[in-house]
């Protein structure tokens, strides 16, 4: 049966990594690209097979045991994979979107010296990501979790000769470590509480527990901290915008479509635990909402096209956490899927623009590209509409599902969340208008060189555009005549679903959000096309709010002042006082004391044999006296 072959899915990208890694200097670019994309395509094909097989299989959860990895005392950690509705969908997203992005990278990276290195890293990333979602216990998940962090680090710092990029990579790594620590502690607590790290042993136990257990709450909180780091939530989100230093396909694959959703996947996977900790759920909802709003506000004034998308990603991730927090796990996961489509699409479109403009990322130097890059324009338009949430594009269904659940949970939260959705529509269309409408604002010389991207880049765009437009089919709610296939598919994994509001309310909510989004688009249109408004240069004076937004609420500066500087001062203090004076003092003092004492003792060695013998006699006498007296 094909499900038993699931181990091939991660193994093949690993082989690709090894081949491309070893042959990075010898393989031609064509061969490297073929291997890199080919292995992902094979994985994708197997994943489709697994998905179809699982659909026709009455048993929805298969654990494929490979071998015992760690076995010590009561601790047994097998390397085994879990194939169930949740992981099979993730497999499709990772390999499917991953494959498209690999194809795209062949065109995008063709001029880069590190072509082979890039593809080997991408394959390695896919391997670890698959390990993350396939693992049947928290430890295997953690391997993947750390592995994707490593690949993220490697790829953000891909152009490591630029020191800014290298430090962005370090920042991402360190921020992730903070979250990873939480995750790891959570896993330890899980082991001490349940005596196992296997999903199949933990969840049945947890299902019998009552809500309000403080240990479970602690576990949920720690896991959530882990998810915060990986999925860039407040207060650990600042690494994601900086991660845009990596090549654009990386931003699309790792920092939009797959890796950053690992946190949501993990929480959705452990949904039973989170259901037992209502207070933590509440915290998750608040953090998600705050992240969504803060990131949306920051995105309003950014001028770098990738930064806008990065903050938009953070904001959308915030919506997903909001969904998780109100118990709409399937809604959040639905948004993960649609977001993977349209955000990958948007990033790839941005990459296409950047590629066409020879690495120009500032929107103030773009404009009027509609005619020159027609395919990119149309696909990006589709992506923008999808993220803004206009029916019948995919973003509408997923976002509205989350919002509807939020409405039943808390009206005020709903209000803020909807406002955030309006902001999303505004900044996304602002980006679209600034890039593709109006007149070209770069130099005349550069304008002549603008060209549409090659087929290897536009074909993935078209495929993703279709998916972004039609991806909502899998989750059309009953109120709109659909059956919400995704919700039924995930039912074996998600044990509890949040209540939906009644039909009339749901219609009203949709109407409100659609009208609001349309108004936002109208405002953006009048501002950026009607009035031809161009964002002010960096040094221009801004109003207080715009200034806050433009400078990203000074998060980096606040962290710098609150954490880095005190640490620096403390470290400096310890270096000067403790290390230099005390540690070095002891070490040097020992050496100095020995040599000084020896200098003194050296004089005793006078060369006078008589004196030696005298001392010997004194020694004998004292020895005898000692034994005599101690008798």
């Amino acid at each position: 049966m094909i499900i038993d072959l699931v181990w091939l899915v991660p193994l093949i990208p690993l082989i690709g990594f090894i081949l491309n890694g070893l042959g990075r200097n010898t393989f031609s670019k064509g061969l490297t690209g073929f291997i890199g994309s080919g292995v992902i395509f094979i994985s994708f094909a197997i994943s489709v097979g697994i998905f179809l097989a699982l659909g026709s299989d009455p048993v929805k959860s298969h654990e494929i045991f490979l071998f015992d990895w760690i076995s010590a005392g009561s601790l047994h950690i097998p390397l085994s994979f879990l194939v169930d509705p949740l992981s099979s969908i993730m497999l499709l997203i990772i390999t499917g979107v991953g494959f498209l992005i690999h194809i795209y990278s062949i065109g995008y990276m063709h001029g880069d010296e590190g072509f082979g290195k890039f593809f080997s890293y991408l394959n390695l990333f896919i391997f670890f990501m698959l390990l993350l979602v396939l693992g049947s216990n928290y430890i295997v998940m953690f391997i993947g979790w750390e592995g994707v962090g490593l690949c993220s680090y490697l790829l953000i710092g891909f152009w490591y000769t630029n020191s800014n990029y290298a430090s962005a990579a370090k920042k991402a790594f360190v921020m992730n470590r903070i979250g990873d620590l939480g995750f790891l502690l959570g896993v330890f607590f899980i082991f001490t509480t349940f005596g196992s790290v296997e999903f199949s042993k933990i969840f049945p136990q947890a299902a019998n527990m009552l809500p309000g257990n403080s240990t479970i709450a602690l576990i949920a909180l720690l896991l959530f901290i882990g998810a915060c780091g990986k999925s860039a939530q407040l207060p650990l989100f600042t690494w994601l915008p900086d991660a845009m230093a990596g090549p654009t396909p990386v931003s699309a694959l790792i920092h939009a479509a797959t890796m950053v959703t690992a946190g949501i996947y993990m929480i959705a996977r452990s949904n039973i635990l989170f259901d037992l900790a209502p207070m933590i759920q509440h915290i998750i909802a608040i953090v998600g909402l705050a992240t969504a709003i803060v990131a949306a506000i920051i995105a309003l004034t950014q001028t770098d096209i990738k930064k806008v998308l990065a903050y938009s990603t953070v904001s959308q991730l915030g919506y997903m956490f909001l969904g998780l927090g109100v118990g709409a796990y399937d809604g959040a996961f639905f948004h993960v899927i649609t977001h993977a489509f349209f955000k990958a699409l948007l990033f790839l479109c941005a990459g296409s623009v950047i590629h066409a403009l020879h690495h120009e990322q500032d929107m103030r130097h773009m404009g009027g590209l509609r005619k020159k890059l027609p395919v990119t324009f149309i696909t990006m338009l589709i992506g923008t509409i999808a993220i803004a949430g206009l029916p019948p594009f995919s973003g509408f269904f997923s976002k509205d599902e989350i919002l509807a659940h939020v409405y039943t949970h808390d009206k005020l939260m709903w209000g803020i969340a909807v406002f955030g959705a309006f902001l999303t529509a505004f900044y996304m269309f602002r980006m679209l208008f600034l890039t593709f409408y109006g007149k070209y604002r770069g130099t005349h010389h550069a304008e002549e060189k603008i060209h549409e991207s090659p087929g290897s880049m536009t074909i993935p765009l078209i495929v993703l555009a279709v998916l972004s437009a039609a991806g909502g089919i899998i989750g059309i709610p009953e109120v709109l005549g659909g059956s919400h296939w995704l919700s039924h598919w995930l039912a074996p994994v998600i044990h509890h679903t949040a209540e939906s509001p009644d039909h009339a309310t749901e219609y009203a909510l949709m109407a409100v959000s659609v009208i609001g989004v349309l108004i936002s688009i109208g405002v953006a249109y009048s501002r950026y096309i009607g009035k031809n408004h161009i964002p002010a240069p960096d040094e221009a004076k801004r109003s207080l709010l715009a200034n806050l937004s433009y400078n990203k609420f000074y998060f980096d500066e606040i962290y710098d002042a609150l954490i880095r500087k005190p640490l620096d001062i403390l470290s400096g203090f310890f270096y000067r006082i403790f290390d230099n004076k005390i540690v070095d003092g002891i070490v040097n003092g020992l050496g100095w004391g020995t040599s000084e004492a020896s200098k003194g003792l050296r004089l005793v060695q006078s060369g006078n044999v008589g004196f030696y013998i005298f001392m010997m006699v004194v020694g004998i006498i004292s020895l005898l006296l000692y034994t005599y007296l101690s008798l």
């Binding site: 008589g610 005298f614 006699v617 004194v618 004998i620 006498i621 005898l624 006296l625 034994t627 005599y628 008798l631």
Partner: protein, 165 residues
Amino acid sequence: MGTSVFYFVATLSVIFSLLVIFSKNPVHSVLYLILTFFTFTVHYVLLNAQFLAVVNFIVYMGAIMVLFLFVLMLLNLNKDNEPLKSNMVKIVGVIAGCCLLVTLIGSLKATAVSDPVLLRNPDLGLLKNLGKELFGPFMLPFELSSILLLSAMVGAVLLTKKEKV
């Protein structure tokens, strides 16, 4: 008379050994040392350690003392030309020695065992008995001591050979 022979010889031993260290002429020292060793030989005889008595007589009094005398004569040291140590050093040396003696005797008192030395096996110190012992349990050390003597011989020859410059 019994034990009085021992005390008489013991007194002689002490007197001669004192003379060894206090005579100014090294040659006299050697001669007194020979006498001291002779009294030791008598002690061995009294203990019925006949083999040791003979060895002591031949090796110590014969070979070693002749060697000493030979060197003294060779270096022409048979005069009282030894530069004397200061009295201070001598007094300190004697005091230190006496302290050592007192401590030794004192620690002996602490053990307080004083059996008479009785010869239970008259053959103990005879050559036959010792030879069996030497070629039995002490085989290896005995063979090794031959290497020691060989190396001493080689060393002595090597040391006294004039360097060819």
